[in-house]
């Protein structure tokens, strides 16, 4: 029950949203999921091939006029079954690698000034990300309030500009906003921690 070795399920789940190319998947993960998930090309392309081999997805070459050739993958019935099975299986706890936290822990034998420097760097790094997230949150909240469908979300959920009913749009915005909230709360916790540490170490 490990967080690792889940790329195939992650890709399957993403394809259950909509058919996508490997490139689309990479963009979606980088833009929308980066604070709790990550994938890279070296994994995406071979995994997509394996999903097709195993019958969980199928590939369609899209060569619409004037555009570069794209391999579009869509989930099959078998893939959807597998995806749903995984959803209800027990999940492993989050796996984290936090370099600045590690540095702080290891700085215990170095001068306190060094520990303080690490915390300041941590705070600054996290604050910058928080600002980004807060901007996105504002856009999303306003969109939901106005029953709108902001470009930022449309881009992520829609490959082709295809009409979508109001209820579905609202749900997509909701999921996306809640996901963003998770990122924001995680960062707020880290900032609070930085403050606690600075308090403890003395300024």
């Amino acid at each position: 029950m490990s967080t690792k070795q889940k790329t195939n399920l992650a890709l399957l789940g993403l394809l259950s949203w909509k058919p996508m190319s490997g490139y689309d998947i990479k963009k979606l993960v980088d833009i929308g999921l980066s604070h709790f998930w990550n994938e890279n090309y070296g994994q995406i392309y071979p995994t997509l091939n394996r999903l097709v081999e195993d019958g969980y997805a199928k590939k369609k070459v899209d060569s619409s006029s004037g555009k570069r050739k794209r391999n579009i993958y869509s989930i099959t019935k078998k893939g959807e079954d597998k995806f749903r099975d995984w959803i209800s299986l027990p999940s492993s706890p989050p796996s984290v690698r936090n370099e600045l936290q590690l540095k702080f822990f290891l700085s215990g034998k170095l001068p306190v000034a060094t520990s303080r420097k690490i915390i300041r760097a941590y705070r600054q790094q996290q604050k910058a990300v928080l600002d980004e997230y807060m901007d996105s949150e504002k856009i999303l909240r306003e969109a939901i309030a106005n029953d709108a469908y902001p470009e930022e979300v449309r881009q992520i959920f829609e490959g082709q500009p295809e009409p979508l009913n109001r209820k579905k749009r609202a749900k997509q915005c909701g999921v996306f906003m809640l996901t963003l909230r998770h990122g924001i709360l995680a960062i707020e916790g880290r900032l609070k921690w930085c403050d606690e540490v600075m308090e403890y170490l003395g300024r």
Copy 2:
């Protein structure tokens, strides 16, 4: 500037605390750092060998009477320099893989009941870990208040029961407690998120 490929530096930093065997390192990471770092044998033993090859650490075989043979690694001057250099280098943002978060995001096309189930599982999993951490925190806080040196911390920082002055002990307990606080704040953020989501989805 990536969180990955940092095992050699992590091990170097741990050896700067005290000389240790690969087994000691694994235990220390599992017990004390698991909420922000992880290492495994498959990486630890080869990396220790490489550290020795490159002159960052040296190995000493400990075969004290009646005990199983242990390979004890200690950091060299060259290793300490490398460690200190890394400490002041810029650090990459935390890298996370959170399976339950991913499942929630992907559940957007499934019935809301499924999303709720995921959140409940997430909350329960995180609450259990929080309880553990809170117990440890209590022990540590009391120890610090009483100027004591609890077995839990001694075990981690001391291989050999060697006397240590009060100031150093206090600092060790402090670093350990603050590190634990990071874990606690992270989990509290996740629990708060679960509550927000349940609120949003409706119970």
